[in-house]
């Protein structure tokens, strides 16, 4: 089942190829083999970061003719692989099929006490056929299927403690769409009508051995334990959407485009919880021996966006582009949650009874955004090119939360308005193989909505490169972004700085050497308030990253070698070192057949938290067929 899409694509390809007269052999490039892994240290961290698995692997498969192309990459042993088929017959059809598979794994020793983990797979299939029978109108129909499923672990705060749960998730998203592209003279565009459905199912049970929860201390003298727990949640979302775009040429120098997108997501969710144990609740000031909860909710998101843009070519070298876009979003939600606390008593042991709490919640969010922008592009005038632009965005947000959401007054709703104005100027000077470029982007805002929103932001970038034909290419990039918000009580200040230099040497056509060095600095501070004592403090985030890379590639008539070394080192909030080595050799053994071998090694070390360290080597042997 895992490779049914691959088989389907291969069958389609075979059918297509057999229908054609092939006077010359179809070019083909196949690399298939086996990979072994050797991991020491924290395997969960290795899987979270890299997750390359042991097993059979189609490293590459490419078949190509002028009207058909099949590409497969890294299908087989995880973590990710893809297949892509494109075929067409002029005057009849164009057909695209894509399949992508990705293993998602996370089990971090320090994240949420290491209790939030998952080991899931995402499969994504997308197919579209376009009918090419008519020149003016080309109808198409497409289908996308996205499934995310697998086990995991999570936690639930219930009865004044947190309990580890085993989780099984299965989400399926489907999209069917139909429409047409059209072209009438100088006017062209596309209309798409789509229907999307999301079906989510999540079941949770108490993890083995998790009966006592995370905290051993009793609550008001009563031990908090759970003997049985199940949760079942279902989510269904239906989303019809419409997309329309149109563009037309007005004379030889003006082009106008417009687009409209609207979707209306309508979601229903139900949930049922059953818990038995010895529990407490400060919300109802009672001890109880179980929970039976049912919930039903409905949420809607209606969003539309409209945009218009004009491009004017004053001369062959000077363009002006200007546009306006408006986006409107409405979120409305309502929920009815009935919670029955079983066999409850007051903290004093009185009034024994089942206690029911019914919560009816309704909330809403409105968001409007207007963006206006204009840019002038001056194409090369001699060695110089310039671009200047301005944009302004206005964001209006109105949040109306249900009272049930508000635990501490303030900051959870209201009307917010934020206007950001941005200026951009960049230019480049190119002469011979030398290029020097610089850009400045400066933004100012009137108000923040989130505390980490900037009021002032400046970004500077300088880039230089020099390329001598077929021998050397040198490059250097320096980039700095400063953003701040000096409002009292926020005091946000952030600087990101990165320098990168790289060189590629090609002394002879068969040999290529490359090296790069990069430094990355991140400094961020913002005021925050400790909830426990209201003390104002400074949240500081610091990174000092250093990256070094080097490699060589050599090609002989019947063999090739590639080798790379990477060292990444970070100091600051999470100090770590990451060393990566890669080597790959291919030898053409006979005619079109060859053998490839590769080796990769990753070593990750954290100086402050050695339990996260790992060292992983992978070895692969591959058969090559290249014709």
């Amino acid at each position: 089942m895992r490779y049914r899409w691959l088989l389907l694509a291969l069958c389609l390809t075979a059918a297509h190829v057999s229908a054609q007269t092939m006077p010359i052999p179809m070019p083909i490039d196949i690399e298939i083999g086996y990979r072994w892994t050797d991991v020491s240290g924290n395997e969960n961290m290795y899987r979270t970061q890299i997750n390359e698995d042991e097993g059979l692997l189609i490293r590459a498969l490419t078949l190509a003719t002028s009207d058909l192309r099949l590409d497969v990459s890294d299908l087989g042993a995880g973590p990710a692989g893809a297949l892509r088929l494109e075929t067409r017959r002029d005057g009849w059809y164009r057909f695209n099929l894509r399949y992508r598979r990705a293993d998602a794994f996370s089990a971090l020793p320090a994240f949420a006490l290491g209790q939030h983990t998952f080991d899931r797979t995402r499969d994504l299939v997308d197919g579209e056929i376009e009918i090419l029978r008519w020149k003016a109108i080309k109808p198409f129909i497409g289908y996308t299927w996205n499934r995310y499923e697998g086990p995991g672990t999570t936690t639930w705060h219930v009865g004044q403690d947190e309990f580890l749960l085993s989780q099984d998730l299965r989400d399926t998203d489907r999209e069917l769409r139909a429409g047409a592209t059209f072209e009438f003279g100088s006017v062209s565009g596309q209309l798409t009508q789509g229907w999307r459905t999301f079906r989510g199912r999540e079941t949770l049970t108490l993890a083995p051995g998790a009966n006592n929860g995370n905290n051993s201390d009793p609550v008001l003298g009563r031990p908090i334990t759970v003997s049985a727990l199940t949760r079942d949640e279902r989510t269904d979302v239906d989303t019809p959407f419409t997309s329309f775009s149109i563009g037309g040429q007005a004379g030889s120098r003006v082009r106008v485009t417009g687009n409209f997108v609207r979707f209306a997501a309508d979601g229903d969710a139900t949930g049922a919880d059953d818990v038995t144990g010895s529990l407490a609740s400060f919300a109802i000031s009672r001890f109880f021996n179980g929970i039976a909860e049912e919930s039903a909710s409905r949420a809607k998101n209606t969003t539309w966006r409209i945009g218009v843009r004009g491009d004017i070519a004053f001369t062959d070298k000077v363009d002006l582009t200007a546009g306006y876009r408006r986006e409107h979003r409405e979120l409305d939600g309502s929920a009815l949650i009935r919670t029955l606390y079983l066999q409850s008593v007051t903290f004093g042991g009185a009034d024994p009874r089942d206690f029911e709490v019914v919560l009816r919640a309704e909330n809403a969010l409105r968001r409007d955004e207007d963006v206006l922008d204009a840019a002038l592009l001056v194409r090369p005038v001699g060695p110089l090119a310039l671009r200047a632009g301005i944009s302004q965005s206005n964001l209006d947000v109105n949040v109306a939360p249900d009272l049930a959401e508000i635990v501490v007054d303030g900051g959870q709703g209201g009307a917010f308005d934020r206007r950001v104005r941005t200026f951009l100027l960049d230019g480049s000077y190119s002469l011979g193989g030398f290029t020097l470029g610089a850009s400045l982007q400066s933004s100012g805002a009137n108000d923040p909505i989130l505390r980490t929103d900037f009021l002032e932001r400046d970004r500077y970038r300088v880039r230089a490169s020099w390329k001598a034909p077929k021998f050397v290419r040198l490059g250097f990039v320096a980039d700095e972004t400063q953003q701040s918000n000096d409002r009292p009580g926020i005091g946000y200040d952030s600087t990101l700085r990165q320098y990168t230099g790289d060189v590629v040497l090609t002394p002879v056509e068969q040999v290529s050497l490359h090296a790069s060095a990069s430094r990355f600095h991140a400094d961020s501070t913002i005021l925050f308030r400790h909830p426990e004592n209201f003390r104002i403090d400074e949240s500081i985030h610091v990174e000092r990253g250093k990256s070094l890379e080097g490699g060589v590639a050599v090609t002989w008539p019947r063999a090739s070698f590639e080798g790379d070394l990477t060292h990444f080192e970070n100091e600051g909030a999470i100090p770590f070192k990451l060393d990566r080595s890669r080597a790959r050799v291919t030898v053409q053994v006979h005619g079109t057949f060859g053998i490839g071998a590769e080796w990769a090694r990753d070593k990750y070390t954290e100086s402050a938290f050695a339990v996260a360290d790992y060292e992983a080597s992978r070895y692969g042997v591959f058969l090559l067929l290249r014709r």
Binding site: I24, A112, G258, V407, V408, P488, T500, G545
Partner: protein, 288 residues
């Protein structure tokens, strides 16, 4: 028909055929022309496995003088750089003219696409695998992949163009605006993140305000991060508390109740209780 008339016509036909056969083919000298049989630019034109000269002359101009001179390179057009892109590629691919990667000396069609020597394993005739190609200029973004927590680019299907549209979708009038970057939206117009992470799309009854008013990048670094879950800060509590501290200004983000003692490990891991940080249909405090 009389026999001599038939013979005459036969001779005439053979002469014409012989003359046709005598017409040299580009592939006689250029191996690239033979290999072009699989190139999308030869689509529909290949006859019995041979690429007609007409296909070559579309971009290289009339080759008669080049042939007559015995292969004089000055007598044939070789599209290169900005002028090559303007005078050749854009005659057909007009819709890619604008956008951030608009035609300049620094970046033009032939900077990224190689018509005859593209990477054999990459579609669309791109010159190199995407990460190497885009990383030539976008060195910062490319170097982010060296961080421990990052999307797996060029390893099994995900590439730069999964999220970015290098041509800016200008033809469709979408977010190709000069200052807004080149994000590839879903067909319903949403950010590219939710084209894969569909379960984060909602809608949720109890949505996380930061996600609805900001965006995914408010909390996550997309290209790669030193922090778990590609977060913008090293710890979860730091990500949360930086917004959830309404000290003075009227910003969105509520203050946690005072029993959240951040000096205790229990409260340093906000998501141990508030698991549904992207939104919930079941709990106002995002507890499930």
């Amino acid at each position: 028909m009389k026999p001599y008339t038939f013979l005459l016509l036969l001779c005439l036909a053979l002469t014409v055929r012989a003359q046709e056969a005598a017409q040299p083919s580009c592939g006689d000298c250029h191996d690239e022309a033979k290999a072009f049989v699989t190139n999308p630019h030869a689509r529909g034109a290949v006859v019995k496995g041979v690429v007609p000269n007409d296909v070559c002359t579309t971009c290289h101009g009339d080759g008669a003088e080049h042939i007559e001179s015995g292969g004089d390179k000055t007598k044939i057009t070789v599209p290169r750089g900005l002028s090559g892109a303007n005078d050749t590629c854009l005659l057909c691919h007009e819709e890619t003219r604008g956008g951030m990667h608009a035609n300049t000396n620094q970046v033009n069609c032939l900077t990224c696409h190689s018509i005859h020597k593209s990477d054999p394993r990459s579609p669309h005739l791109v010159a190199k695998p995407q990460l190497a190609l885009c990383g030539t200029c976008h060195t910062q973004a490319a170097s982010m992949r060296n961080k421990p927590f990052a999307h797996r680019l060029d390893r099994g299907g995900m590439t730069c163009s999964t999220c970015h549209d290098p041509h800016g979708r200008r033809a469709k009038g979408e977010r190709s605006l000069a200052l807004l970057g080149h994000l590839r939206t879903t067909r319903a117009g949403e950010a590219p993140c939710v084209s894969c992470h569909t379960e984060k799309r909602g809608p949720f009854v109890f949505s996380h305000g930061g996600l609805e008013t900001g965006e995914c990048t408010t909390c996550h670094e997309t290209h790669g991060s030193s922090n778990p879950k590609q977060l913008v800060r090293a710890t979860v509590q730091q990500v949360c508390i930086e917004c959830h501290s309404p000290i003075a200004a009227a910003t969105l983000g509520s203050q946690p109740p005072s029993f959240h003692n951040l000096s205790l490990p229990r409260y340093q891991n906000c998501t141990t209780c508030h698991v549904a940080v992207h939104g919930s249909n079941r709990d106002p405090q995002l507890l499930k």
